[in-house]
């Protein structure tokens, strides 16, 4: 699916692959150099990336903006199915097209805040930590030490970093929500929470936030077709009806979400 020039815009554009390196067995970092002017993305926004160059896979795949400096876009991604496999196969000099930036962004924090990343959720939160340097208490959950990525970066950007791994190979053993739940930051200082990660983690957070009466913003994932709000494929249930994750989200106030 090549695109003629007249179809391109500052939200649908081509970019050259200038890096696609493995950080561990499952996670890679893709660096793109857009061939035209791009709208500057905000932390929490995402792009739809072309996956492969045929009709299988067909749809673009959504990825949070991980870095956007010097007119270069970076995406941190985990290889899952055939779409991410196709993206993992990109080599320097290849060109893909992408749509974005899309969706809303994390609201600006007043003062210090808590950031919670589960697994690849770090991709969405790192640019937020960067924007608000040294104001985050960063809680990070991963399966094990090997799966922890961007360890040093987050340390430099945060006031403090708390780590939980399923097997205890780094930080505390257990879920990141467990260490968060006991933290004075929550119980005493009621700092607002910004989170991105798997749904079970976010559900836990919803409980904690409700319990402790603190603000919590989460970036959600849903299967997407268009990414721009047209297909109504990516909705989630909220107190005011179905909302599109790609348009009204992906960042939501956790108290509005109705979990299944």
């Amino acid at each position: 699916m090549k695109s003629s020039r007249s179809a391109l815009s500052n939200k649908y554009f081509k970019a050259d692959v200038i890096g696609n390196i493995s950080l561990n067995e499952h996670v890679k970092l893709l660096s793109l150099s857009p061939l035209s002017v791009v709208k500057i993305p905000e932390p929490g926004q995402f792009f739809m990336l072309q996956a492969g160059s045929t009709y299988d896979p067909l749809l673009k795949r959504p990825f949070s903006i991980f870095g956007y400096e010097d007119n270069m876009l970076k995406f941190l991604y985990r290889i899952r199915g055939k779409g991410t496999q196709a993206i993992a196969g990109l080599k320097n000099g290849d060109t893909i097209n992408l749509i974005g930036p899309l969706g809303n962004c994390y609201p600006e924090p007043q003062g210090d805040f808590i950031a919670v990343a589960g697994g690849i959720g770090i991709a969405s939160l790192l640019p937020f930590l960067k924007r608000f340097k040294n104001r985050a208490y960063f809680f990070c959950g991963a399966r094990n030490k090997k799966e922890l990525v961007m360890f040093n970066e987050t340390r430099v950007l945060s006031k403090e970093v708390f780590i939980a791994t399923d097997d205890g190979s780094e930080g505390q053993k257990g879920f990141v929500t467990e260490i968060l739940n006991d933290s004075l930051l929550v119980t005493r200082y009621s700092l607002p929470i910004y989170a991105c990660g798997p749904n079970p983690m976010l559900k836990e957070l919803a409980g904690i936030a409700a319990d402790k009466g603190i603000k919590c913003y989460v970036s959600l994932e849903e299967h997407m077709a268009c990414g721009v709000g047209a297909c109504l494929g990516c909705v989630i249930k909220t107190v005011s009806g179905y909302k599109r994750v790609c348009k009204e989200g992906s960042v939501f106030d956790i108290k509005d979400i109705i979990w299944e």
């Binding site: 849903e222 721009v228 297909c231 109504l232």
Partner: protein, 308 residues
């Protein structure tokens, strides 16, 4: 070769500046894609299916990818005709592009109610009737798969409105040419096809259908050969214009439909992959006509030579 070929076509008394429209449900109410290109370029805008009353739609997952296609079970979520007319139509009126309101109901009365409201609105040029939905008054049988039920509802809608009426046919039938004929006889000014083909995908670990709605509609390149065949059959069966839909990803795909007999085409799933694909398709048609030395798109419409 230097002359710009004519791309405009006439359907049901309306003139379209080119034969490429959006397929309902894949282009929202137009706003979302206006960031990507000038909507004036479109042959027509067909909006997301509307019902007399707002509709919530299905739980998620609503979409799942399949080989060269996707299944969707949005459940016809929409803001309702009233809100559409009030909140969305003013935006669409800005453009020099005909607006086609796709609509549906789950009873004959609801179809009629929706059409009454649509007919009195300003800025709707034609209506497209989605009959691939179940009739709650007749055991939830799909309107578009039963000739009698379909005839009944199309007749009722026809009586209610003077707007050009396009009936959008379901592919989930034995003889789509016959269904098209029924629609024609019941007063349709044109037919469009195909709507999605019903499909299912199973999560083998959970041993559940992936879609919350269990079944969904298959769209995308996977269905193109079926759609082209059906368009060809319908063109042989009826005298009203036919709008071809199904898996159109580029100008060559659109040409398959036009050559097979479609007076226009609508592009659905492809918008998701390339938000400005319709602009490319229009350009591609023009290029093709120039290269093949045609001066008018109507020269290639229904030009298919059958192998004997």
């Amino acid at each position: 070769m230097g002359i710009t070929p004519n791309l405009s076509v006439d359907i049901a008394g309306l003139k379209f500046k080119n034969p490429v429209m959006t397929a309902s449900g894949t282009f929202g109410y137009g706003e979302e894609y206006s960031e990507f290109f000038d909507l004036n370029k479109l042959g027509a805008i067909v909006v997301k299916g509307l019902s007399a009353m707002p509709k919530q739609g299905n739980p998620t997952p609503r979409v799942v990818e399949t080989p060269a296609g996707m299944l969707n079970a949005i459940g016809l979520q929409n803001i309702g005709v009233d809100a559409f007319i009030k909140e969305k139509l003013p935006f669409l009126r800005q453009f020099n592009t005909p607006v086609i309101a796709n609509f549906f109901g789950d009873s004959v009365d609801e179809y009629v109610e929706a059409v009454e409201k649509l007919s009195s609105a300003d800025g709707i040029h034609a209506i497209e009737m989605n009959i691939s939905c179940p009739n709650k008054q007749a055991g939830w049988i799909i309107f578009g798969t039963d000739p009698k039920t379909m005839e009944h509802v199309v007749t009722a809608v026809r009586k209610t409105t003077k707007l050009p009426l396009i009936v959008k046919l379901s592919p989930n039938v034995t003889d789509i040419g016959f269904m098209a004929k029924v629609a024609e006889n019941a007063g349709a000014d044109a037919v469009s096809l195909i709507n999605t083909i019903t499909g299912m995908a199973v999560d083998i670990k959970k041993r559940r259908p992936i879609l919350a709605n269990n079944i969904g509609g298959l769209s995308g390149p996977a269905i193109k050969p079926v759609a082209v065949r059906m368009v060809w059959e319908v063109c042989k069966a009826v005298n009203i214009p036919v709008i071809g839909i199904g898996g159109i990803m580029n100008a060559n795909d659109a040409l398959e439909f036009l050559i097979a007999g479609a007076r226009a085409v609508a592009v659905g799933t492809a918008n998701f992959i390339n938000p400005a694909v319709i602009v490319e398709i229009i350009e591609g048609l023009e290029t093709f006509l120039k290269e093949e030395e045609f001066s008018d798109i109507n020269q290639i419409i229904r030009s298919l030579k059958i192998n004997s």
